[in-house]
């Protein structure tokens, strides 16, 4: 099923992508065009292939067949580390590295340079703010944060590389409704500034609020792809 929507400037173009993890086919014949500067929400039940699809876009894994293009070039043509900095990924269950929240954020800079500059510190502060966490969190030990706080630190850490694309895996799954709504509003603002967001979520309402496009996944296949405004009740029922 070709799920290509006519877009003038796509971020990702997936063509007949199949993927196998630990002997199990997790994605089947995915053809999808993900627009630049918009949000694309991947919706589907657990095990439908949302996370696997995100992992392919950051090249944490490679598909067994098919091709993925990013900004017009085949993914494999990009230097891998440069690609990962441009296409940042915040996991659903984020790993907190040893040290404080600030240490965790600056790790994104230390991956490339041993010297942390004043500019990096300022960026950390800003990233934390975007992730809806107050500045005093910077000095807190990262491993003592709650699940929702860790998710937001992971989001801030992903923003530290100033990416063009942000891959989010269930970013609000551990957040209360108020924080969740604030975060969604922040993410929407980021797309207005040109950031492309690809987000896996269970929550249809969240996808609606984020706007952009919605791809519905079932058993590793994209069964529907349309603008979030055109979501129909029939799709909701199938989830």
């Amino acid at each position: 099923m070709n799920q290509a929507i006519s877009l003038s400037s796509p971020a990702f173009e997936l063509a007949q992508v199949n993927h196998v993890r630990v002997g199990r086919t997790v994605l089947r014949d995915i053809s999808l065009t993900i627009p630049k500067g918009r949000t694309t929400s991947l919706i589907g039940p657990s095990g439908s292939g949302k996370t696997s699809l995100l992992r392919l876009l950051n090249r944490l894994e490679s598909p067994v067949s098919g091709s993925i293009r990013y900004a017009g070039r085949v993914l494999e043509e990009y230097p891998i580390r440069e690609l990962r900095r441009r296409v940042a990924f915040a996991f659903q269950t984020p790993a907190m590295l040893p040290g404080t929240v600030l240490d965790n954020l600056l790790e994104a800079c230390r991956c490339f340079s041993y010297k942390v500059t004043a500019e990096d510190n300022a960026r950390a502060m800003h990233a934390l703010q975007l992730a809806e966490l107050p500045a005093d969190y910077l000095s807190r030990p990262a491993d003592r944060l709650s699940g929702g706080e860790k998710q937001r630190v992971a989001l801030a850490r992903a923003l530290m590389t100033e990416p063009d694309v942000l891959l989010l895996d269930e970013p609000t799954s551990a957040l209360d409704p108020d924080t969740s709504a604030r975060l969604v509003a922040t993410l929407s603002r980021l797309t207005q500034r040109g950031l492309t967001i690809v987000m896996a979520t269970h929550r249809l309402e969240e996808a609606r609020l984020m706007g952009g496009y919605v791809a519905v996944l079932q058993a590793g296949c994209v069964v529907d792809y349309r603008s979030s405004g055109a979501l129909e009740t029939a799709i909701v029922v199938t989830l």
Binding site: R84, A88, F89, L97, E107, C111, A154
Partner: protein
């Protein structure tokens, strides 16, 4: 100072010494440790191996042929490699055997070269009376270092899977993402050496020094030799462990810098 010659140890004396193994077997039976058979087989095997090696050494010492000496040293590395990787069943065996073998060879050879040519000035350079016992000690420690490093690195990579992947996703190199796992693995391998350096002469009188003293050697000379041995073992363990850690780490990642799934 009058240095006495060592008291001869006869076959009957050796049989009496073997009775000590029976103590360990008795404890195993009493506590149901299930080690009785292993201890018995191990004791017999050790005796046979030592007797055989005694004869082989006699032959090599008599021939003084450099190629024979080198062949024997390589055989020691090979045996150490097999022993080092035997208990690492959970790891993928083939590359690990190669990694440990090369690492033990590199760590041991560099150390032996330095000690033989710069410290002891062995002459001729292949004198088996020096090279074989010194290399034996080095290889034994390098072997333990290789096993401890490989085992710990595997556990660390497994435990830190999520952390490593989080760093990769940020654009970190595999070397950067796994640096803490590597550090832990090398440290773990160095701990026995560090402990040995701390207690040598106080808690433990090491084999070489004891052997020299029992053989009627000058204790001050024995001490100097022992200190040299400790230093060379430290270097050999450090070099071997580092080689294993840095090379073995690479096998956890694909060429596309993806963390491969662990069993």
């Amino acid at each position: 100072m009058q240095i006495e010659r060592a008291i001869d140890l006869g076959w009957f004396d050796l049989v009496l010494a073997a009775a000590l193994v029976l103590v360990a077997i008795a404890i195993s039976v009493w506590q149901r440790l299930g080690l009785g058979k292993s201890l018995l087989v191990g004791a017999i095997r050790a005796t046979v191996q030592l007797l055989l090696i005694g004869h082989v050494l006699l032959m090599i010492f008599a021939s003084r042929e450099w190629s024979l000496v080198l062949a024997f040293l390589l055989l020691m590395v090979l045996a150490a490699t097999i022993a080092a990787t035997r208990r690492l069943e959970k790891h993928s065996a083939a590359p690990l055997r190669l990694i440990c073998g090369i690492a033990i060879l590199v760590g041991s050879s560099i150390t032996l070269l330095y000690v033989g040519t710069i410290v002891v000035h062995v002459s001729p350079w292949y004198d088996p009376r020096y090279l074989i016992p010194i290399f034996g000690m080095i290889v034994g420690n390098a072997m333990n270092g290789a096993t401890l490093t490989a085992d710990r690195l595997y556990s660390e990579m497994r435990a830190r899977h999520a952390d490593i992947e989080a760093l990769l996703a940020l654009g970190a190199s595999p070397a950067h993402a796994s640096r803490d796992a590597v550090k832990k693995a090398i440290s773990a391998a160095m701990i026995p050496t560090v402990n040995a350096l701390a207690v040598v002469g106080i808690v433990a009188l090491p084999g070489m020094m004891t052997g020299q003293i029992l053989a009627g050697g000058d204790p001050t000379q024995a001490v100097r030799y022992q200190a040299m041995v400790m230093f060379m073992l430290t270097a050999a363990t450090a070099i071997t462990s580092t080689c294993v850690a840095l090379w073995y780490r690479r096998t956890f990642f694909s060429p596309a810098e993806q963390l491969l799934p662990l069993d």
